[in-house]
Symmetry: C2
Subunit: 247 residues, 2 copies
DNA sequence: CCAAGTTTGGCATCTAGTGTCATAGTACGT
DNA sequence: ACGTACTATGACACTAGATGCCAAACTTGG
């Protein structure tokens, strides 16, 4: 052991930690990520190379330190959340992440540029979002790791992440623009409406069998129609679709 | 340049390449990934350390060499595909990847175990699947990088990857079992049916502040019912749902 | 058989990351 | 105040991945 990778004991020296991050981001931006050595950062931050490694574990971790903290916050949020409406909870969690990104652009925007430019950092960022996705997925599936419910949870988690990143990326490209909260909520509603309904449905249908196993014994019907179309037209379309598929 | 990272010039020595991969996988499995040095691999493969780096760029790349080749194949497949049915094309591409995994378990299964055990490799694997996701997403959105169509493409790509990995993982945990092609196709159909329909519909209708779950230009209706339920019952449910939401 | 180009190997070097140990700073009980 | 125990820091050494450089070996073509 002896190295412990830090991670929880973060509080003492939290502000000094942020100062180091700021210095590192500046150096990375000025001279490039690869060209900046840990020695450079240590000198600029006024500490020894060894202590730098102790505080942050690795060079990448300096850049993603605050991101890691955020993830832990989100995890605690999910742990503490009631499970009456998992989809809404996950949507809120995603909103939290978005909120934190737009709240401190002085860190997230330079980091975004660095991440785009350096493959190694890009992979790290992707791994980060994958951790969110796994957390969301676990929360949505509520323990199940196989079966239709697990699959739906994974697909929904993936879609939520995709929607989040879709809007976030567009803002990061032009951070001087106002924060697109509306588009965020629309995008989030878009994915949670379609797949989220599939996750909720089996529980809300008390009448039919729908017993425990649920191993692929269901069929899925999806209809898309412009808003405002009369209900009968929708019914007609559904009837047509049912006929076509032999249901 | 001078280092070129190889990648396209792979053919001369392709079989020798695979032999090196096999040797490396064996060493990694026997002694652990971290504990196996590039020198060890070089000796076991009968070549110099320097040449090993030239052929594979990095230690990780040895393990993922064949995976990279597969990705290139998939990319070419997407480039060559007609764009009459992008969703079906992406589904086929995902099927190709699945096929390649189950085709050579002697490489993919040990790699899976290594990837699960070593965080660094796990991140690499995740980055790999993210590349697929990006390729799928680009193909589905057909150039658009913003707007509803782009978002749908990204969510669908994410869901396709999620479904693929869902089934793949379950097989990798028990590779002696028969390949679950049926579950793969079911899972793929599940996600492409729901989100895929949204992508096909042009429906750029004006927003009409639909009550409740609306939020987008379209309304989405999703129904899940046990297979075998009479069509009229489905219609009745749909009618009920429409009435409830005020459509 | 020789010339031009490519592949390979050996060597040096750079840097991230880790183990170790001594020292400086700090909290605490007497 | 004083010594003690604990923690943070820094200096040093070392491992290993990765890259540049150059010479030797090999391949190709005339």
């Amino acid at each position: 052991m002896a190295e412990s990778t830090d991670g929880e004991r973060a509080r003492p020296g939290g502000s000094a930690r942020s100062a180091v991050v700021a210095v590192a981001v500046r150096l990375f931006t000025e001279a490039g990520y690869e060209a900046t050595t840990m020695d450079d950062i240590a000198v600029a931050a006024g500490m020894s190379r060894r202590s730098l490694f102790r505080r942050f574990g690795s060079k990448e971790d300096i850049l993603f330190a605050e991101h890691d903290d955020l993830f832990e916050t989100v995890e605690r949020f999910l742990e503490a959340a009631p499970d009456d409406d998992p989809v809404a909870t996950v949507r809120s969690a995603a909103r939290m992440v978005f909120q934190e990104y737009v709240r401190s652009p002085e860190v997230t925007v330079p980091r975004f540029r660095l991440v785009r430019a350096v493959p190694r950092l890009r992979d790290r960022e992707i791994a980060m979002t994958a951790r969110y996705q796994a957390a969301f997925s676990r929360f949505l599936a509520r323990g199940e790791t196989a079966g239709r419910r697990a699959l739906t949870g994974e697909a929904l988690a993936a879609s939520v992440i995709a929607a989040h990143n879709h809007v976030l990326r567009s803002w990061l490209h032009a951070p001087q623009e106002p924060v697109p909260w509306r588009r965020f909520d629309e995008a989030m509603g878009f994915v949670t409406d379609s797949l989220g309904a599939l996750l909720r449905e089996p529980a809300e249908a008390p009448r039919s069998a729908a017993s425990g196993a649920g191993a692929g014994a269901e069929s899925v019907l999806v209809a898309v129609y412009p808003a405002g179309i009369p209900g009968e037209d929708v019914l007609a379309r559904v009837r047509g679709a049912l006929g076509a598929e032999g249901g």
